[in-house]
């Protein structure tokens, strides 16, 4: 835009532009978004000096009204995108991290138990190429075919039941109030079969 044109915009917003020039400028405003933006910034300067400034976008109200008049959504702002309000995502991220850690802990615990007790087929199965594996019926992961002499990490039954039924990741259908096991209701729950701890039987 030329300096002369900008000078006309400046005079126009002060209503000091002669009628002939105003008519030409109005036609230019219809198709020139930059001209409208410049006019909006010039009026913003005056608003700031008079302490009338509300918000930092000189065209937000104009865009909303234009959209309402045409029945369309406001065009995307050309300003730099506002920073993401991370404070709204922090709780979600926190829950996600906690859930990931919990799942990893549970999976890891089971993997340790599985590895120490002995997987069906043993290490050969784990090391065999995927293509070479023959389909086998899925083994029970709580009743191993082979029992090793290695010490087993086997949480107590009641503790396991408690975690299964009261943790925040437990199924809502099975979740019980916290006090249920205090009054012995845990005995009524279907026990989770685990490998009997070797230490419990050793020395007997």
């Amino acid at each position: 835009m030329t300096e002369q044109f900008n000078d006309q915009i400046s005079a126009f917003i002060d209503d000091e532009l002669p009628d002939e020039e105003s008519a030409f400028l109005l036609r230019r405003f219809e198709r020139d978004a930059d001209a409208r933006s410049r006019a909006a910034r010039y009026t913003m300067i005056g608003a700031a000096l008079r302490d009338e400034l509300v918000g930092s976008d000189p065209e937000i109200l104009r865009r909303r009204i234009a959209a309402a008049l045409t029945g369309t959504a406001p065009a995307a702002q050309q300003r730099p995108a506002a920073r993401v309000q991370w404070r709204y995502f922090r709780p979600v991220v926190g829950v996600g991290i906690a859930a990931t850690v919990a799942v990893a802990a549970i999976v890891g615990l089971r993997a340790v138990n599985f590895a120490r007790v002995g997987a069906p087929g043993g290490a050969a199965t784990l090391n065999a190429p995927l293509q070479a594996r023959t389909p086998e019926p899925p083994p029970s992961y709580v009743v191993p075919r082979e029992v090793s002499d290695a010490p087993v990490i086997a949480p107590a039954v009641r503790l396991t039941n408690y975690v299964m039924h009261h943790s925040e990741y437990a199924s809502r259908l099975n979740r019980l109030p916290v006090h249920s096991n205090v009054v012995g209701a845990g005995e009524l729950l279907p026990p989770v079969e685990t490998v009997p701890a070797k230490r419990e039987t050793a020395g007997e």
Binding site: D15, L26, R36, Y42, G46
Partner: protein
């Protein structure tokens, strides 16, 4: 001195200098269906109308909604505007009525307090209304305000005087020319150059 009458003193519309002919031309184009002409009217008066509405509606985003509604009402009523009063006066009344209706619809009474802006304490009340904006918006508004003030301070004296007489005092070019004892064309040029200098400071912030 202090009046016991706590009713809201409705602000009186101060018609901006020299705005009659231009606004009339614009509203006539609006009556012929020219939406871009209404765009320009919004650009011209959005800040004044927003600040007016925020005397009734404290929340800035709510005030934005009410201002939008006021302008849309003005657009729909444009065919009935006869030019008996200045366009800004007409728009001003629509904005006040829209704000009051909004408060009534929301079950809130319009605030009743003395808005004598000569009283410094009352000026602070108006300032507090602005502080309800988001922290990011406030920070950006403040940054823009500071940039403008800095640019004003750095202007040559004749440019600074011209733009302040225009924006703060609301004087016409003719009045400024008489005050500064220079031609009207010189006043126009000085105001334009002042705006250009300020615009260079704030454009990167927008």
């Amino acid at each position: 001195m202090g009046s016991t009458d706590k009713r809201l003193t409705e602000p009186v519309a101060r018609q901006p200098a020299g705005s009659g002919a231009s606004d009339l031309a614009l509203i006539k184009r609006v009556q012929q269906g020219d939406k871009s002409a209404f765009d320009l009217l919004v650009i011209k008066y959005q800040h004044k109308i927003l600040k007016l509405i925020m005397r009734y509606v404290r929340d800035s985003s709510e005030a934005m909604d009410v201002a939008q509604e006021a302008f849309l009402k003005a657009y729909r009523a444009a065919p009935s505007f006869r030019g008996d009063s200045a366009f800004y006066t007409w728009l001003y009344r629509i904005a006040i009525n829209t704000a009051k209706n909004h408060l009534v619809a929301a079950g809130r009474r319009p605030a009743h307090y003395n808005l004598d802006t000569q009283d410094p304490e009352q000026v602070e009340v108006l300032t507090d209304l602005r502080d309800l904006d988001t922290p990011e918006g406030l920070a950006q508004s403040e940054e823009i305000r500071e940039a403008i003030n800095r640019a004003i301070r750095e202007l040559p004296e004749e440019l600074r005087t011209a733009i302040l007489l225009r924006e703060i005092e609301g004087m016409s070019y003719e009045e400024i020319a008489q005050t500064m004892e220079c031609p009207v064309g010189t006043v126009r040029s000085r105001i334009f150059r002042a705006r250009e200098a300020i615009d260079r400071e704030i454009a990167p912030l927008l």
